[in-house]
């Protein structure tokens, strides 16, 4: 699927602000599931853009604006070609959970079984995970059951949470948006020692107005597999992946600081079109 994405973030400040330092994670990766054809990042006021790859290999662009300004506009335009992916079928040979222990010795997985900024590993969560998986031994089946469970347990309600809502609040109130669904799923997996990580990206629906969040779980012998708990399904060509992290904290699309007034407004607009 060929997709054009425009992602615009606009800040308006009540009074001019200055010394603004920002990092953005907006550039999707290229991998076997998608090819990034082009990527353009524009910022106003004009800045010098620098970039690097972070610890999780995400593309990071960064810039600073020292002089006073009362608006900041960040726009990324990209073209990506997503490929069909086989997904994991139910007839796959089961992988027992005992293999997780040796898999965890691989150092790339350590971070994804620990607590992180928005996800903690608590006994109550573990109990929920145990109930949801009911003694299932196959890693993949566990992950699926947990995903179904999240879908049942949490209801999608936009504006019921905010960007810094922690997973434990979501578990209490049982509503949220895809960011929260992903955090809950990750928390449940981690209590069972299944490595799980957070994925930031886009979902090509006609009504898209924001980025999307889902998860990847690690199945020994297969690798990282994507699961979308908000829609209770594996991902397909309608998904564009930007990057991964332990949770939202590691892949926030835009984050930064500045000196000035706290009164400001942010508008985000995402437009996705299929071409050809």
């Amino acid at each position: 699927m060929k997709l054009d994405v425009v992602h615009r973030t606009h800040y308006a400040y009540a009074a001019p602000v200055r010394e603004s330092f920002n990092e953005v994670r907006l550039r999707p990766v290229s991998n076997e599931d998608q090819t990034l054809d082009s990527f353009l990042l524009k910022v106003l006021p004009p800045v010098r853009l620098q970039d690097y790859r972070d610890f999780y290999s995400n593309y990071v662009h960064h810039f600073d604006i020292p002089e006073p300004h009362d608006t900041l506009a960040i726009e990324s335009r990209l073209r990506v070609t997503t490929h069909p992916r086989p997904g994991v079928s139910d007839e796959m040979r089961p992988v027992s959970r005992v293999h997780l222990k040796s898999a965890l010795k691989a150092d790339g997985l350590y971070d994804f079984v620990q607590a992180s900024h928005y996800v903690d590993i608590a006994p109550e969560t573990w109990r929920l995970a145990v109930d949801a998986t009911q003694g299932e031994d196959d890693v993949w089946q566990c992950a699926l059951r947990l995903m179904h469970f999240v879908r049942e347990y949490v209801s999608y309600q936009s504006q019921s949470t905010q960007v810094h809502t922690h997973m434990r609040e979501v578990l209490v109130h049982r509503h949220g948006v895809c960011q929260d669904f992903a955090h809950v799923m990750i928390g449940l997996c981690r209590t069972l020692q299944i490595p799980a990580r957070y994925v930031s990206g886009y979902l090509a629906t006609e009504k898209a107005s924001a980025t999307h969040a889902w998860t990847e779980v690690f199945v020994p012998g297969i690798g990282w597999v994507a699961l979308d708990p908000t829609h209770d399904r594996q991902t397909d060509e309608t998904y564009v992946k930007i990057g991964v992290g332990r949770d939202y904290f590691d892949v926030a699309p835009v984050k930064g600081t500045y000196r000035g007034t706290t009164e400001r407004e942010m508008e985000v607009e995402v437009r996705i079109e299929r071409r050809g």
């Binding site: 629906t205 898209a208 924001a210 699309p253």
Partner: protein, 342 residues
């Protein structure tokens, strides 16, 4: 030098000067009180209110005390830390500023200021105050003068030193003008006052003594203590170190030494205002001042000094693209990730 450091040096010397001036004001007025045996309560109140107004603290005082008495006023202006302009508060703030720039001041200066700080907070200071307020005030003055002397004789006269000069002379000019203004309610709003009574002479002598100007005054005007002469001495005299004109001249010079501008020009707002003020003091006569009214004139002078202080702040402490105070950082708002509803 670091803007923040310039700021601290400026305030350090301003607060030391403030402490000294408050000590002077109080000492003289306590002495003077002894000469007025027959003041009743309301007279006392009228007597002391101008003293409190000298430091601009009348509102803070009246919140706590209904009437001004000697004990109440003295306690308020010496020890109370809720009064940001009390002697103890000023010394604490001076020391705090010094502490933040310890690498810029000499060891002797720090030790003397630290010693003064430990002293005013100690029980020994309280005891000295009870036994003899004069001794207490002398201690404050002595220490302040030692700090001034150390500053002159042992600090390198670099940019930072000139900032301390600015602070000291702005404060001294301001406080001298307020001391001068203390008896303004006994003066007519405009025009030279009439012949001085004995009370007037005593009161205006007290004003001179507050500024250590008594001997200098006598050498110029003999024994003729009257408002006109005293005002001329403290406002327009170009040679007496505590006169407003002298202080503004030094202030003007210090500003130019900092920026490197010549005395014929100004390179920033602060210099423009200080140059203008110096010129007006240079080219005024005391009769002209009384024509417009001494109090009105002194009021305007204080406003001008404040404006110079503000302009200084904006020129040196905040660079061109800073638009306000040292605000702390604010995080950009972050966007929640939410697929469109389906």
């Amino acid at each position: 030098m670091l803007s923040r450091v310039a700021n601290s040096l400026y305030w350090m010397s301003r607060y030391i000067e403030r402490a000294e001036n408050v000590a002077r004001i109080l000492e003289v007025n306590l002495q003077l009180l002894l000469d007025f045996r027959s003041l009743d309560d309301s007279d006392l109140h009228d007597y002391w209110m101008p003293v409190i107004q000298c430091t601009g603290d009348q509102d803070a005082f009246l919140v706590r005390h209904q009437r001004a008495t000697a004990a109440g006023v003295a306690e308020f202006m010496v020890f109370r830390q809720e009064n940001p302009n009390s002697i103890v508060s000023s010394i604490c703030q001076a020391r705090e500023n010094a502490r933040m720039v310890r690498d810029q001041i000499t060891v002797e200066t720090w030790e003397e200021l630290n010693r003064l700080y430990l002293f005013v907070l100690s029980a020994a200071a309280r005891q000295m105050w009870l036994d003899s307020p004069t001794d207490f005030f002398n201690e404050i003055k002595r220490s302040s003068l030692q700090l001034v002397g150390l500053s002159h004789a042992t600090h390198i006269h670099n940019e930072g030193w000139w900032f301390t000069q600015v602070g000291r002379h702005i404060e001294r000019a301001d406080k001298t003008s307020r001391i001068l203004d203390m008896r303004h309610h006994t003066l007519p709003p405009r025009g030279l006052p009439g012949a001085a009574t004995q009370t007037t002479a005593l009161e205006w002598s007290a004003i001179l003594r507050s500024c250590s100007a008594w001997d200098a005054f006598k050498s110029i005007y003999g024994a003729e203590v009257n408002p006109r002469n005293v005002a001329e001495m403290l406002l327009l005299n170009e040679d007496f170190p505590r006169s407003v004109r002298f202080c503004v001249d030094r202030l003007n010079e210090a500003l130019r030494r900092i920026s490197g501008a010549s005395s014929q020009r100004f390179s920033n707002e602060a210099e423009k205002l200080s140059g203008r003020l110096a010129a007006s003091l240079q080219f005024s006569t005391i009769e002209e001042v009384f024509e417009t009214g001494l109090h009105a004139h002194l009021d305007r002078l204080q406003v001008n000094l404040n404006a110079i202080g503000d302009a200084l702040f904006h020129t040196y402490i905040f660079r061109a693209f800073d638009t306000g105070n040292y605000e702390s950082f604010v995080q950009q708002e972050e966007q929640q990730q939410q697929a469109a509803a389906f």
